[in-house]
């Protein structure tokens, strides 16, 4: 039941309790209780929106994905480095990866310069960071399962079929 509620909210976090209850054929109170539990347990962290940045007026913002190689700290592994990285306001996401680098860090800034300066003055100098390789995002096509620009509606579904 929790999983089903999550699925519904992931698609539309504004779905009201009555509709969720109807869709799952349970009572409104039950849905309310389960959602509160999930909020309390840190399963649901936030109700957010997915925005097509390109259509927002002052969207000159720049995003970069930075591949960061680090030396894991003794006894603490990667966790303590990740904790330091994630505290920067500019950092949107931090993923520990398998492969040729360790962290994939998404950084958002007002301009190219802004991001570059963050990398050179904040990220690179960190003691355990060995190297950074910065890739600037050019265009978002799909994020979190959501396609940003829908192609021309091509549905040719008839209004009435048997």
């Amino acid at each position: 039941m929790r999983k089903k509620i999550i699925e519904i909210l992931k698609k539309d976090s504004r779905t009201n309790l009555e509709d969720i209850a109807a869709m799952l054929a349970v009572s409104v109170d039950e849905v309310k209780r389960l959602i509160s539990e999930m909020e309390r347990d840190g399963i649901i962290l936030q109700y957010s929106v997915v925005v097509n940045d390109e259509l927002v007026d002052d969207s000159d913002a720049v995003t970069a994905f930075i591949e960061v190689k680090v030396t894991p700290e003794r006894d603490k592994g990667f966790d303590s480095i990740a904790r330091r990285l994630q505290k920067f306001e500019e950092v949107q996401s931090v993923f520990l990866m398998s492969g040729t680098y360790d962290f994939l860090v998404a950084v958002k800034g007002k301009s190219l310069k802004d991001v570059a300066s963050f990398v050179s003055s904040k990220l690179s100098p960190l003691e355990s960071v060995i190297s950074c390789s910065t890739h600037f995002l050019l265009k978002k096509y799909k994020e979190n399962g959501i396609v940003m620009e829908h192609e021309e509606a091509t549905s040719s579904r008839l209004n009435l079929t048997f």
């Binding site: 089903k4 509709d19 869709m23 009435l160």
Partner: protein
């Protein structure tokens, strides 16, 4: 002008033709009148077909269809329903279940043979029986929760009875037959040595139990029909299949050979991909329909409709008798006054004017709005 075929002339145009045309030409309406999924075909399936086309695989296939596809179908039938069909000569790939239906009737019927048709049911059964020279014998299942009973069948059997056709989960009612009741029908069929045509095109779309198939209980007297349209959201690909014992198939494939040659090759490739890698997609869609099923059922009850809880397919079939309008008038006024399209039930059950069919394969936003409007509509009647 020379005269036209008597049989063609005798087929009735659907009683709701005028309404049908009106809906088809309406714009800015919310339509609950469709008979297909609101999903596009899962991209992996479409992409596979494109790849095959790019490779130039555009020729005829065997009359039976691609052997790889028939093997996948045999495997699915065996795994899911413990039935056993030889992919070499007991499975035939058809142009949708529509062709499969036509082939079935033409393969088994002689002039004057009777076919028992429980209604409400899919619109093409009766005309196809007539075209094949058969005589449809109707059973009204509205008195038995839209599930045909063995007693109802027994009461219609005559020396001329040749076959019975059933379709569960049912279009338009969403009714699903239990394993026990299905077994009872199978027993009647065997007792009188009839053919059972089982149209199982919705059989994966069930919400309160496991998919079932008549092929679990019998093979000798069964003509099993299924397809990809509803399960995999592949309506426009036109791809279905028949499974039956070799002696019947030997005859059926001759008709198919002359009327269709083979099913479209790209659709056959798509179907292979669907069976191999589409199981996750089916489950995602099934769960999505289930949420909407629950929602629309609750709303129709709240509004005050007398309605059965649909257990399969993606239709709900509310009764409108208490509102004092015949189904077609109800649907017409609902369209004109609230811009919501539904299908009058008499399209599926001639002479029965008490129901409307609503398809809930529509977005939640559209369903919410449509039900709001239906509520306003009936409250103003």
């Amino acid at each position: 002008m020379k005269t036209l075929s008597q049989k063609a002339l005798e087929i009735k145009p659907s009683g709701i033709r005028k309404f049908f045309d009106l809906v088809q030409n309406s714009q800015d309406i919310i339509s609950l009148g469709v008979g297909e999924p609101d999903f596009s075909t899962p991209w992996g399936i479409t992409e596979h077909a494109i790849y095959q086309l790019e490779k130039g695989r555009t020729s005829y296939t065997s009359n039976y269809g691609l052997i790889e596809l028939r093997r996948e179908i045999a495997l699915l039938q065996e795994k899911s329903f413990k039935s056993n069909y030889n992919p070499d000569n007991e499975i035939l790939i058809t142009v949708g279940v529509s062709e499969a239906l036509d082939l079935s009737f033409r393969t088994i019927l002689n002039e004057g043979d009777e076919v028992i048709v429980p209604v409400p049911n899919f619109v093409s059964y009766i005309p196809l029986i007539t075209l094949a020279g058969g005589v449809p014998v109707i059973i009204d299942t509205s008195v038995s929760d839209f599930i045909v009973t063995k007693e109802q069948i027994e009461s219609k059997i005559t020396p001329k009875t040749k076959a019975i056709i059933i379709a569960y989960p049912n279009n338009p009612t969403g009714a699903v037959i239990s394993k026990e009741k299905l077994k009872e029908i199978v027993d009647v069929v065997l007792k009188h040595d009839l053919w059972l045509i089982s149209d199982e095109v919705y059989n994966r779309l069930v919400y309160d139990g496991e998919p079932i198939s008549a092929s679990t209980f019998m093979k000798d007297n069964l003509i099993l029909l299924n397809g990809f349209s509803k399960t995999y959201a592949m309506t426009g690909w036109r791809i279905g299949y028949v499974a039956c014992k070799k002696e019947v198939m030997d005859q059926m494939v001759k008709i198919h050979q002359y009327n269709a040659m083979c099913a479209p090759v790209m659709a056959q490739y798509a179907a292979i991909e669907a069976l191999k890698h589409g199981q996750k997609d089916i489950e995602m869609m099934r769960q999505s329909y289930e949420l909407r099923r629950n929602y629309v059922y609750k709303r129709f009850k709240e509004i005050g409709f007398e309605v059965h809880k649909p257990e399969g397919a993606f239709y709900i079939y509310p009764n409108i008798k208490k509102y004092g309008l015949k189904d077609e008038d109800f649907a017409l006024r609902l369209l004109q006054e609230q811009k919501v399209a539904v299908v009058p039930g008499s399209a599926f059950s001639e002479g029965n004017y008490d129901n409307i069919r609503c398809c809930y394969a529509a977005s939640m936003n559209d369903l919410k709005e449509a039900l709001k409007r239906i509520e306003i509509f009936v409250n103003n009647l």
